[in-house]
């Protein structure tokens, strides 16, 4: 379970910012005053640290950090 979560957290920023990008490449809908592409990039500036933090916590709980 933890392993799957870990893989997911590692893969997510890459999928969202590289693989999925062609589908996010659009103007509508405009969210929080940002056209969709810009909103999407903005969103992942904020979400990526959460992924990193999740990985950090997982590693810590497994005693993988010193």
């Amino acid at each position: 379970m933890k392993k799957i979560l870990m893989i997911l957290l590692i893969a997510l920023p890459f999928l969202a910012q590289l693989v999925v990008l062609p589908f996010a490449n659009r103007i509508d809908p405009i969210i929080f005053g940002l056209p969709f592409l810009q909103f999407w990039l903005f969103l992942w500036i904020v979400l990526t640290p959460f992924c990193t933090f999740g990985i950090y916590q997982l590693q810590k709980s497994q005693g993988g950090l010193d």
Binding site: F14, L21, I27, L37, P49, L65
Partner: protein, 500 residues
């Protein structure tokens, strides 16, 4: 060029001089230049916050602000490639920088090339890495130079001789870097980062109100009048495939730069680096906003404005006087401070990995420290010389900088995880990667994909295919760094250190 603005010019000059003064004061303690380790990585004593400021100051340069706005001005949303690029760069760094830092700390290494030498027992590899690093970094320092030059040109035309002032300010930076080492740019980096955030936020709030009556009317106007700016083209020489590969390759390359590595090695613990990887993406909020400044410039400035001056002209027409002065000094600082860190990185590579590893292996102690520090003048001098005398010769090197730097990724990062990676395969891979990148670039056969991507693929392929040919020797040989990374003994050493 039209007449500058005297108020803006005086403020900019005042801020530059103040920062230079602080740079000197930072080094009044003699210990800052007592050894290469003290001078270049501050004795590895910097905590999380200080490293954040330093790496932030390092990577968000005048060129970032001027280059991104001019890309946004001419090529619209392609400029946004900088966002996934740097967000992913920090994310990726989380997985290898703490490990790299630990090896460097254990073995008192101050450059990436040092690590490659110890890891592979190869002075050939370390000097190759150093040559690539210095060769790619000098044009990058030149870019910073053009940052401050453009600023002074717009504000100071009719008042000062721009070239003389640029040369003087860079010599002052070289002098304080020589004197204070990494402490100089660290303290001034805090001033620069605070100014960057304050000024950029101020501009992003005030410019839409001044020109369009608010943020939403501005976005509406872009959507109706220039929708092409808001999305990435699907094809063409620079479309979506370029955007994705450029982001990815640049993300891998970011911490291969000598100045980024210098920033990282100043950290006092692996955990400080992890925290940095966590929080650095937030710095990019500024970047998104900066790209919008380029869009504003597109709507506001008259046709035919030189894209290179898009941001500077926008600031001059919108504010003038004090606002312009503060914004310009921010850009000037964003040019001078990274330049200082870059010069430290390049000097370190030159002295440790070209001079010592290749020319005079016996040099050590005080003499090596002196040579490292003295190289600052050579590096900044070369950058000035090329930047002012042959600006055109550097354009290709600047464009290829990232694609070139990323080729050391297998030598530096993959080798942290792959025990049996051999020196021979790594060296051939590096050379193949560089050759492919330059060939693709000079023949224009990139097929809409980032040049460095082709090079890196060729590099990886060579390492993987050739490695089995040389692996026998690598399997049974070991050394201190390999022991530390992969051996059983290393854990004990670690425990002892922690207990002590």
């Amino acid at each position: 060029m039209q007449q500058g603005n005297l108020t803006a010019l005086s403020i900019t000059m005042f801020v530059i001089l103040t920062v230079v003064l602080i740079g000197f004061l930072a080094g009044r303690d003699k210990a800052t230049r007592s050894s290469v380790e003290e001078w270049s990585v501050g004795g590895r004593r910097f905590g999380g916050l200080l490293v954040w400021f330093l790496v932030g100051a390092d990577l968000y340069t005048a060129y970032t602000f001027l280059g991104l706005t001019s890309t946004a001005y001419t090529a619209g949303s392609l400029a946004f490639f900088a966002i996934p690029y740097s967000v992913l760069a920090y994310f990726i760094s989380y997985f290898f920088l703490p490990k790299l830092w630990k090896v460097a700390n254990q073995h008192k290494l101050t450059t990436l090339a040092d690590y490659a030498r110890e890891r592979f027992d190869s002075k050939l590899l370390s000097s190759l890495i150093a040559i690539v690093g210095v060769l790619m970094l000098i044009p990058y320092i030149c870019l910073q130079l053009s940052g401050i030059q453009d600023t002074l040109q717009v504000a100071g035309t009719g008042f000062i001789n721009v070239k003389v002032v640029v040369i003087t300010s860079f010599l002052l930076v070289a002098l304080y870097t020589f004197f204070s080492g990494i402490k100089g740019p660290t303290y001034t980096a805090i001033i620069k980062d605070v100014l960057v955030w304050a000024i950029m936020l101020f501009m992003v709030v005030s410019l839409p109100i001044m020109h369009f009556g608010g943020w939403d009317p501005m976005v509406d106007k872009i959507v109706t009048e220039a929708p092409q700016l808001l999305t990435i083209p699907n094809e063409g020489p620079k479309g979506i495939p370029w955007f994705i590969t450029a982001s990815f390759v640049s993300a891998l390359a970011l911490f291969m730069w000598a100045h980024a590595a210098t920033g990282v090695f100043t950290a006092k613990s692996a955990d400080a680096i992890r925290k940095n990887a966590l929080f650095l993406p937030l710095y990019n909020i500024v970047l998104i906003l900066v790209v919008f400044l380029g869009f504003i410039a597109f709507l506001v400035l008259p046709d035919g404005t030189d894209p290179r001056f898009a941001l500077l002209a926008l600031i001059q027409t919108s504010y003038g006087g004090i606002g312009q002065g503060l914004a310009y000094s921010t850009i000037a600082l964003a040019s001078l401070i990274p330049c200082s860190i870059m010069a430290i990185g390049a000097s370190n590579l030159f002295a440790n990995n070209i001079y010592r590893d290749l020319i005079n292996p016996k040099v050590k102690g005080a003499k090596l420290t002196m040579i490292t520090r003295g190289m600052v003048f050579v590096v900044i001098g070369l950058a000035l010389l090329f930047g002012l005398v042959f600006p055109q010769a550097l354009v290709s090197l600047q464009l290829l900088g990232v694609s070139g730097m990323v080729q050391i990724f297998p030598a530096i990062v993959i080798s942290l995880f792959w025990r049996n990676q051999t020196r021979e395969a790594t060296i051939i891979g590096l050379l193949v990667g560089l050759t492919v990148t330059f060939t693709v670039y000079s023949t224009g056969t990139s097929l809409g994909i980032y040049e460095g991507f082709w090079g890196l693929m060729a590099n990886f392929a060579s390492v993987v295919v050739l490695n089995p040919l040389f692996v026998k020797k690598a399997k049974f040989s070991t050394n201190a760094v390999k022991d530390y990374l992969f051996g059983e003994k290393s854990n004990k050493v670690d425990l002892v250190r922690k207990g002590a």
